[in-house]
């Protein structure tokens, strides 16, 4: 019987290591219980959402403070985004948001430019001012056509 008990122990340890590995992968890398699980929601309306998707980062001073929860079409002309901002992060009511790119060819993220007002945005509030994504193709075409007209 002692032989079997030993096998039982080894199998137990094996299962434990395996389950711990899955848990580690899920918690450390999968971000379970990390960003987005609690916090408050803010809304912003952009002329052009330009590549921002659900799950994209929201950053303030280069630090991730939340994620984009949804990107939807508003009144058939503008893009409405809902952000989930981490608990405890205060954003002034005159703060603005803009869409930026990480690095030259990196992914799109939403940058919050902190304002100077004393009161802060709360659950469900909308950003007053937004700056849309810079469209490189638009810039290039503008450059080309301005060259032609000269």
């Amino acid at each position: 019987m002692s032989g079997y008990k030993k096998i039982e122990m080894v199998v137990g340890i094996f299962v434990l290591i395996g389950v711990m590995s899955i848990a580690w992968l899920a918690i450390e890398l999968g971000g379970v219980g990390g960003l987005g699980s609690n916090g408050y929601k803010l809304v912003a309306v952009f002329d052009d959402a330009g590549g921002v998707r659900k799950g994209s980062d929201v950053m303030l001073a280069g630090v991730p403070i939340g994620q984009v929860v949804s990107v939807t079409l508003k009144d058939n002309e503008e893009a409405e985004m809902v952000f989930n901002i981490k608990e405890g992060v205060l954003i002034a009511s005159d703060a603005t948001v803009s869409i930026r790119t990480k690095g030259l060819i990196g992914e799109k993220f939403v940058r919050v430019n902190q304002g100077s007002e004393e009161d802060y945005l709360a659950e469900g509030d909308e950003f007053e001012d937004t700056e849309s994504a810079i469209n490189i193709e638009d810039l290039i075409s503008k450059y080309i056509f301005s060259g032609e007209t000269k």
Binding site: Y4, I7, E8, V10, V11, F14, V15, I17, G18, V19, S21, I22, W24, L25, A26, E28, L29, G30, G31, V32, G55, D57
Partner: protein, 255 residues
């Protein structure tokens, strides 16, 4: 004309076999709830199949992570994006290479032994002996092995991924000099729950598949030495191919 007839016969035979295997699997899995509960034998099989494969899984995991980091670095550095080495290694391991390579190793280490063992049990009439002792061989021998495979493989894959990630980190950061903070930060940033889910789901299906195919092939082996050898070869071949086919199918759901 004869060739076409032969082809038809072969196709019919394969379909009949597929049906036979499915019925076999269903009949076996249904015994999971039957008494007596084979708890002790599950543990014994977990030991043989899971713990037994641990070393080969750790070795393959480590070297897969290392070579991914090495290859990835030399490719990414050409476009100046070596900061993405972390996610490159992690996503390749978690989504694809972990489940598939671990399953292939598992087939070689555990699957082949299952088929051979069951085949030899039939040759030496141990199955009949079990039945004589009022033990249901399907519950004691087949079911315990199938379940052990389905439980062990996901655990082995998780260990494979972990070892691979650490090995990749060692090569990427310690040897090739990628910034450690960036490496870990980007990895955590880019790997999502869906990636881990995809990897683990795959491995559960692979485990079930390997268990079912290997026990079935052992059970249906011709009761001769040659028959067992043939069945083992076929089981390993079939499992490997099926793992790759199933991998494509599951991946297409998770993208």
């Amino acid at each position: 004309m004869n060739i076409i007839g032969q082809l038809g016969r072969n196709v019919m035979q394969s379909i009949a076999k597929l049906g036979d295997a499915t019925l076999f699997a269903l009949a076996t899995l249904r015994l999971f709830f039957a008494k007596p509960w084979q708890g002790k034998h599950f543990v014994m099989q977990m030991y043989a199949v899971g713990v037994g494969s641990l070393i080969i899984i750790v070795i393959t995991g480590a070297f897969t992570g290392m070579v991914l980091a090495l290859q990835g670095y030399h490719m990414l550095v050409k476009v100046g994006t070596e900061a993405l080495l972390g996610p490159w290694v992690a996503l390749s391991l978690i989504r694809e290479l972990g489940p598939v390579l671990a399953a292939l190793m598992f087939v070689g280490r555990a699957g082949s032994s299952i088929t051979a063992e069951i085949g030899i049990m039939r040759v030496t009439e141990q199955m009949d002996a079990l039945e004589m002792m009022a033990v249901n061989p399907q519950a004691r021998v087949m079911l315990t092995r199938i379940i052990a495979c389905a439980i062990s493989l996901p655990l082995l894959v998780a260990i494979f991924d972990m070892v691979g990630l650490f090995a990749g980190y060692l090569i990427g950061v310690e040897m090739l000099g990628v910034n450690g903070g960036v490496y870990i930060g980007e990895t955590i940033d880019k790997v999502g729950m869906i990636d881990i889910q995809a990897g683990i789901t795959k491995s559960i299906y692979f485990g079930l598949l390997v268990g079912i195919i290997c026990t079935y092939m052992g059970q249906r082996a011709t009761a001769t030495t040659e028959g067992v050898a043939k069945a083992t070869t076929r089981a390993v071949m079939l499992c490997s191919v099926m793992v790759l086919i199933l991998d494509y199918i599951i991946t297409s759901f998770y993208l």
